[in-house]
Structure formats: C-alpha cells, structure tokens
C-alpha cells in the first residue's frame, strides 16, 4: 500500500519473478537468515536447515498467489515456515523439554545472591516451558511469531490466515496463561535480597 521510493520492496521482487524467476533469489538473500534463526529457535539447527529450503521452494511455487497489497514478504514467508514447522512438533517438544536445563548450564559462577536469582530464573523458565508445551499449536504459533519473529498482530494475522481480532484474543489468552502459571508457582516467592542462610533452599518437592 505504501510504496517506498528507491527501495525495492519484496512485493516488487515477487512481481518481477513471475516472468524472471531468477529474481526470486533476492528474496532468499533478504530473509533466509531470519527464517532460519526462527526455525532453529523453535526446534534445532538441522530441522531449521530443512525448513529454510522448503519454505523458499514452497514460496517460489506460490509466488503468483502473493498479495501485492503488502510490500513486506516476511509475514508470508513466516506463515509458510510456521506451517512446515507443524510437522516437527517432536523436535519442538524436545527443545521445550531442554529449556530449563539450558539455563542451569549457565549457572556456575557468581555469588550467592546471583545464584538465588538464577534459581528463580530457572524456575520461571521451567514454568514458561511447561506453559508453552501446553498451548494449542495455534496459540503457540501466534505467541512465538510475536515474541521470537517480532511480527505485529496484523502480520501474524496475515501469516496464519486469521483475522487480527483472533490473533489479539489468542495472544491475550496465552499471555494471561503465562502470568497465571507464574503467579501460582509456590516456589517463585524465593527472596532475592541475598540474606538467606548459607545456601538457597533446594526447590520444594511436592511429592
């Protein structure tokens, strides 16, 4: 809708590629790294390698269907990648399961207060990971497109093919869920002023 003079938009590249397919390569050069990072963040680098090549093959096949009212192809490309990622939910589940451990590995230096903070962070991450895992695939897609791919509500709507209002309600719901799990976590009340006795208590085990 808004054309920026002197900068070639994604839309123009895609339009040109109808008759000059080779031009489509420019789109790859612009967005490949960001797409790969997003896919790797949700799964692992080797899955991301596949997602990257498949996303651009699919995009190339579908280039005539691109909505030229949009200048930016990111929502379109992230939408394709998101669909493809659905097939890799096991890899994503493994990533989520490993999240809390990833924080723990960081924790080997520093003083007591910092250790306590780290412990809090670990717990927060565990809860976040559990919540992410419990989300429906649609909700998780919306949340991660927002938080990790930096798409706006409108762009997420475009990427996932739903109205912006639905995106807004999904994100509100998921963010409420994230807050609720954090709030009901009994172990999240650990004091962080560093005046505990010698060492932080191990996390209470309910059972």
């Amino acid at each position: 809708m808004r054309a920026i003079i002197s900068v070639t938009t994604d839309s123009e590249i895609i339009r040109r590629s109808r008759d000059r397919p080779a031009d489509f390569g420019e789109l790859f050069d612009r967005h490949a790294t960001a797409l790969h990072r997003y896919a790797a963040r949700r799964t692992n680098p080797s899955v991301a390698d596949d997602i990257l090549s498949e996303t651009f093959l699919v995009a190339f096949e579908r280039r005539t269907g691109f909505d030229h009212d949009r200048d930016d192809a990111r929502p379109w490309l992230f939408g394709i990648a998101t669909n493809l990622l659905r097939h890799h939910y096991r890899a994503e589940a493994r990533m989520l399961a490993a999240l809390p451990r990833a924080v723990e590995h960081d924790r080997h230096d520093g003083d007591l207060a910092r250790s306590t903070e780290r412990l809090d962070a670990e717990r927060a991450v565990s809860h976040l990971a559990a919540t992410l895992k419990g989300l429906s695939p649609h909700d998780r897609d919306a949340l991660l497109l927002y938080a990790w791919a930096n798409l706006t509500y409108d762009e997420i709507a475009e990427a996932t093919g739903v109205p912006p209002g639905t995106v807004a309600s999904r994100l509100n719901r998921t963010r409420r869920l994230l807050r609720e799990t954090a709030a009901t976590d009994p172990s999240s009340t650990t004091t962080s002023n560093g005046t505990s006795h010698g060492r932080p208590d191990p996390a209470p085990h309910p059972a």
């Binding site: 397919p21 080779a22 489509f24 390569g25 790859f28 490949a32 790294t33 790969h36 990072r37 790797a40 963040r41 680098p45 991301a48 390698d49 596949d50 990257l52 090549s53 498949e54 651009f56 093959l57 699919v58 190339f60 096949e61 579908r62 005539t64 009212d69 394709i80 493809l84 659905r86 097939h87 990533m95 999240l99 990833a102 962070a121 927060a124 991450v125 976040l128 419990g134 989300l135 429906s136 695939p137 649609h138 909700d139 938080a147 990790w148 409108d154 709507a157 475009e158 996932t160 093919g161 739903v162 109205p163 912006p164 209002g165 639905t166 309600s169 719901r173 963010r175 994230l178 807050r179």
Partner: protein
C-alpha cells in the same frame, strides 16, 4: 522480569545458520528456478497450469498433517473464518429435550456404516466438491479494518488409482456478505479486478494428488496409506488425534475436534473409519448438539460441536444417512464488526463418481 520479556530472552542465543546450510538451501532454490526458466523457454507464456511443476519428491513436504486443516483452499477451524449465514444471537436451542450429542453421533455412526462407499471404476474419478464461505479481514492504517465473507468452491477429482493424475479446480473467492459499506465497496472492486484478470481461480493437476508447493490439497498416496492404518476403535482414534493436536486441555480438544472433522469432511474416510470418528467425537467432553435443524448449502442436518470461548466449531450431520454435510464455525463472541452468532466458517462437501475430469 515479566513473562514476555523472559520469553523474548529464551533461545535468543541460537546460532545463525552455517554458511553451508544457507548455500545448500540457495542451491535448491536456484535449481528449481532453473527448471522453471527452462520450462518457460520451451512453452510460450500461455498456460501456467500445464507448466506447473511438481515439487521434487522426498523434500519432506508430502508429509502434510493427516486431515490438514485446509482443503481445497478453504481454511477451517481456528484459522477459518466465514459463512454466509448469520444465525442470530440465539444459536443454542433454548428449549429442553435437545438431543444428546452422543445419541446423535451414535446414530450417525450406526447409519454411516450401512452407507455404501461410492465405487470408482477404472477410468472414473471420485469428485469431491467443497463449498465454503470464509471471512476476510483487511487491515488498514491504525486499528481500522474491513470485514466481509467470501464464498469459494473447489472441486477435486481423485482417480481410481491414487497414483494417477489428480485435478483440483479452485474457484475465485466471491464476496457475499459485508460488515460495513466500506468493506463492500473494497471487496466488490477487488473481486471485479480479479475476475477480469482471471487471477484467483486455477486448475491444478498433479500425479498422486501432489499439486506442488504448499497447495492445501488432500491426502497424497502416503496419507491415503496413513488413513488406512488409522485405528477404528473410538478410544484409540481419540488418543491419536489428541496426540496430533498436541494438547489435552479444552483448547487442545477444540483442535482435536477440528482435526477429526477435517478428516470426515475430506470425503476420503471409509465407512468404518467414519463410524469410529463419530464415536470418538462423542467422547470429547463438551461436545453438544446446538441446532437440530441446521442448513448448510441447502441441506439440513443436526449441528453439534464444541465452544472454545471464541468460536463454536460444529459439524453438521445428516441424521438418517450418517453422512457429514459439512462443518461450520459460529462466533460465540463478537469479532470486530461481526456479531456473535455469525457463521464465520462453513464448508460443505458433496461427493459423487464421474467418468471424466476437466
């Protein structure tokens, strides 16, 4: 640190792609581009259909989700929007004596098993015609947007031998219901532009149901095989689709419901599987009958479904034959200019056997 800030920091340290990986992906794309150029050089730029290339096999794209949520270009379920019918604010029959969902589904299961599946002879095609209305939202500057409903028909021709050539005709989406004057003006103008240029409608052909790209087609032979392998036992089916949906909470069950409804709607589930699916649907908590006389595409049946808080997803079943007439999604909460009770997604499916494909 709040929830979102924390989430944004997680896995922020993921490495950028290896140069190798980028090169490999770029080469794959370039190879595909060269194929296209070669084709364009050979064929005058007339038919895009005939020159449409099939995606290379083994790229992993064939592994679409069973009963994937899109069929013939029509999105359904949470992603869906649409339908020409505004049911009004009272979707649920207020009177007592409403049929129990489990009774209806049980009866449908019993009826469907007696229903003979269409027999496709060599040289014939199973014709699956899907009509649906989907909502479109166009975002404008700021928070403003236009909303309207599009009607689309797509027709799929499945050959007797699933490895032969399939044909998929996708019609142009036609705007039919508008939620503001501005939306009407824009949507109709856009429709005229597209029908004049011939864009927006297409006929795809592909061996084995593979139309290339991410064409939201149907089951490829591998998926047809996967359908054959699905359990018929309702409990096992429910467990299978819950795992597919990835969750067990109410939102997960809404997704589970949609996945099973999509498979029923695909027209490709054999009678014994349909019966199992109906019985599995009856086992999902919260599934209720909402409309005993729902009309979809001129046919009437019982609507039953599940409310996820925003949308009630429903299937409409012919009580006598146990055949699925279609699916619909009814807003249980206003969405933008669309009031509660708007049917924001509907798809109906008709199957028949024909002796030729276009």
């Amino acid at each position: 640190m709040d929830d979102l800030t924390l989430l944004r920091t997680l896995r922020d340290d993921v490495a950028s792609p290896e140069a190798d990986a980028l090169t490999r992906a770029r080469v794959l794309l370039t190879t595909r581009i060269h194929e296209e150029e070669a084709l364009m050089a050979r064929t005058p730029a007339t038919s895009t259909t005939a020159t449409r290339r099939l995606r290379p096999k083994g790229s992993g794209l064939g592994r679409r989700r069973l009963g994937g949520r899109r069929l013939g270009g029509l999105a359904f379920g949470a992603a869906a929007v649409a339908a020409a019918i505004v049911v009004g604010a009272t979707v649920l029959p207020g009177t007592g004596g409403a049929a129990q969902a489990s009774d209806v589904l049980d009866a449908a299961a019993a009826a469907t098993i007696r229903q003979a599946d269409p027999v496709v002879a060599p040289g014939q095609y199973l014709k699956i015609e899907t009509t649906g209305i989907s909502a479109a939202t166009l975002g404008l500057e700021g928070d403003r947007y236009l909303q309207w409903l599009d009607e689309t028909t797509s027709t799929l021709y499945v050959p007797k031998d699933a490895n032969d050539l399939w044909v998929l005709k996708n019609g142009l989406a036609k705007p039919v219901t508008f939620f503001s004057g501005a939306a009407k003006k824009w949507a109709l103008a856009d429709f005229e532009k597209k029908s004049a240029s011939g864009s927006g409608s297409e006929t795809l052909r592909g061996r084995g149901g593979d139309f290339g790209g991410d064409t939201p087609a149907v089951q490829s032979p591998s998926e047809t095989a996967a359908i054959a392998e699905l359990p018929r036992d309702p409990e096992a089916l429910l467990a299978h689709f819950r795992a597919e949906a990835g969750t067990t909470d109410v939102h997960g069950d809404a997704e589970t419901f949609t996945l099973m409804a999509d498979l029923l709607r695909s027209g490709q589930a054999p009678a014994d599987l349909r019966a199992g699916l109906y019985r599995a649907l009856a086992m999902i908590p919260g599934v209720t009958v909402s409309d005993e006389k729902a009309t979809l595409d001129g046919r009437s049946g019982v609507a039953l479904g599940l409310d996820d808080g925003d949308v009630r997803r429903e299937i409409v079943v012919d009580r006598d034959s146990g055949l699925l007439i279609g699916e619909r999604a009814v807003l249980t909460k206003a969405r933008g200019d669309m009031p509660t009770g708007t049917v924001v997604g509907s798809t109906s499916v008709k199957t028949s056997v024909v002796s030729s494909a276009p």
